[in-house]
Symmetry: C2
Subunit: 426 residues, 2 copies
């Protein structure tokens, strides 16, 4: 008998038919002898529709009210799933963020989980029920509803799994697991059977959309084993857990890409102490994320500083940078939206030198110009022109021996479609 | 400065535009110096849509889960209204059934209010906020969400008004107030400016749809003055309150009709003690409502019993009655679905004899046959053929001097449309 937490995203519960199929899966699981807790997101596009509704009465709604509004999405899906389970003859109990006892701070819209009180889940499990928990939400100390931010349901699932000491946390999605590259652009991408928390974190941080970075961090911090798998098949997916580093391991586990960032370059900044600090303090104060940073000093005592930042906040970033450029007396700044970040990730990089060099050579052989480089222990990322992204991912996937024999049959994205996704910031 | 509770139904908050118009009304009210608490229903057809969704996964859903599901409807409208108010520059705070502290029993789907804890409303009012409360919902002693049943938002409003000792409880609807008859079939119907709780109770019980009987009972029991008015105009509507009976008062205040009931007749029941008790106990045990009852004894020692009951439960009623007919050894039973109940209501009937006789004469003059009669202190109701309902209401409205000079311009229902509504049980 295992104690299982299973999380289903919005696509998996998009309509009554899919809810029934999730219910069947849970009931089968229970009848096979497991104790089952399900965590659900809002049905289909519900959250987007609620945001749109709010926007139509107030483009800048109070965060507390927004959280109350959004929390209803998961309350609908959890009660519908509980009803579906009861219709199949098993007992269910749905619990929202308050009822389950997920206590967060009061940062409405992106609250952090402080505590999971698992008593009511344990009680319901001992009554032989399948427990359904609303993802994405909690309550703060004053009892107001909070939400954890986009992708928060994955974090809810991992937090619940940690709180009830589950044997495994299964994250069901519309893909088969974590791949060596996005199978929509790399037909020979392979599913990864097992991956370490560290590698998964780097993959998530550099564009692999399947798991949220935050949920992986939570899983790593609390030692929760995560199984990322498809809600449409019974095939095993990818297990994310602590892995021993061993020599036989592939040097590079995956290639990721990210088209959601723009590159800022500030030209001819006076090269004095504290210049970079002033710039990035200004960005941080405005709550703007900065990813890669490079600075090089020219002979004339002036420097160029480049950095990348999400396109979603582009207008705000422009305003902040324009002000800093004026304050510093820099010459100008340039924004390039047509960039892609391509990364290779692998724990084997720690003990194998020359991996970065091999990456740069492969890109050079393909005639792809690199404009920024950043590295960590187990990752090397480069910024290249957006229209070269597909070519770069394909050539790196081959260069590091990741191509599998099977050919992924589903939709292949063209360069145009990729560019279109880039425009939309994802 | 007044302390006002204002309740808005689903039609009044059906879309973003209407929510903004409700917000404007509340903000104007507050800026005029009043303290304002709004109670809202779910937007438009939300509740029906949620019921349909539930039905698609489980035709007989667990009541607890159904209440969680339905409670989300009012949580959406309350947060959207709060956002709309904030966009107009006033501060708002939305509170759901749990947050506001409406404690009910555990009868999911039609819970009764036990207690209203008004602390959080008072606190928010003292912070100069407009308070928005989710109608229709509460929590039981174990903290589970409950709903009060259809029309429960009116009851929420009256309960809140009582709990915070509001000066008035305004119920906003899509009609101008309470009329002497349904203006859709009586063009000369007049709006009633003031009506007593007792008369309003009888009107609500006999077919006037504008206020729920339950909410009027609550208002009477706790002395809450109710103002029933239109959300589309600023015109005053109808005030429901304790009225001194005074001689000058109209003998009859209104004429109502109800096409939602069917008439059962059981023929040749042995006329022995306890027969009626057995029949109506069986109906009560099956949770079936019985409205009018008549029994007459024939010379042969057998009796006929007739009663009316809602068409919505017709199949269930047939089954119960068939069983009783067999048990009692009665000859047969007949069901007539084509009946209408037409009633005259007026506190003046208490001190004026001959009102019922005048009613019967007016109907006889119009050639309308009466099949059942029931009376109370301030009401006389008759059952007649459904296709005579419009004619009966018109002739009684004239006979009791209720016709006004103004002609109601909006949609007039034809006999066919009325029959169609009757088929649908309303």
């Amino acid at each position: 008998m295992s104690l299982v937490v299973a999380k289903f995203g919005g696509t998996s519960v998009a309509n009554a038919e899919r809810v029934m199929s999730v219910a069947k899966r849970l009931v089968e699981r229970k009848r096979a002898g497991d104790q089952v807790v399900a965590v659900v997101s809002a049905m289909g596009k519900t959250t987007d529709e609620l945001i749109e509704l709010a926007d139509s009465v107030n483009p800048n709604p109070p965060a507390r009210e927004m959280d109350i509004l959004l929390s209803t999405g998961e309350m609908v899906s959890m009660s519908i799933l509980a009803m579906a389970i009861e219709s199949l003859g098993e007992h269910a109990l749905s619990l929202n963020g308050r009822q389950v006892g997920i206590v967060t701070d009061s940062t409405h819209g992106r609250a952090s989980i402080r505590e999971v009180r698992a008593d009511r889940i344990r009680e319901a499990l001992s009554e032989d029920r399948i427990v359904i928990v609303a993802g994405f939400q909690g309550i703060d100390a004053s009892g107001d509803l909070t939400t954890l931010g986009r992708g928060g349901s994955d974090t809810t699932a991992v937090a619940i799994a940690s709180g009830i000491k589950a044997d495994i946390c299964e994250i069901y999605t519309d893909v088969d697991g974590v791949f060596t590259a996005d199978p929509r652009i790399v037909p020979h991408a392979q599913k990864i059977d097992e991956i370490s928390y560290e590698e998964m974190l780097e993959m998530a941080a550099t564009g692999a959309g399947v798991l949220q970075k935050r949920c992986v961090e939570f899983a790593r911090n609390f030692g929760v084993v995560v199984h990322c798998r498809s809600s449409f098949t019974d095939e095993p997916g990818t297990i994310v857990k602590e892995l021993d580093s061993h020599m036989e391991k592939a040097i590079v586990s995956g290639v990721t890409h990210d088209l959601s960032e723009a590159k800022f370059t500030i030209r001819d900044v006076p090269d004095s102490v504290g210049v970079a600090a002033e710039l990035f303090n200004a960005m941080a104060t405005a709550n703007l994320a900065v990813d890669m940073i490079i600075q090089n000093v020219a002979d004339n005592g002036h420097a160029d500083i480049s950095f990348t930042t999400p396109k979603s906040d582009l207008d705000k970033s422009r305003a902040v940078v324009a002000k800093v450029v004026e304050d510093l007396g820099a010459r100008e700044f340039i924004v390039d939206e047509d960039v892609a970040k391509v990364s290779i990730i692998g724990a084997g990089m720690k003990v194998n030198s020359g991996v970065a060099a091999k990456m740069f050579s492969a890109l050079a052989d393909a005639g792809i110009n690199i404009s920024m480089i950043s590295t960590s222990d187990i990752r090397t990322s480069v910024v290249i022109p957006a229209d070269k992204a597909i070519e770069a991912v394909l050539c790196l996937h081959t260069a590091f021996g990741l191509d599998g024999e099977s050919v992924f049959q589903e939709t292949q994205l063209s360069a145009e479609e990729l560019a279109d996704k880039a425009k939309k910031g994802r």
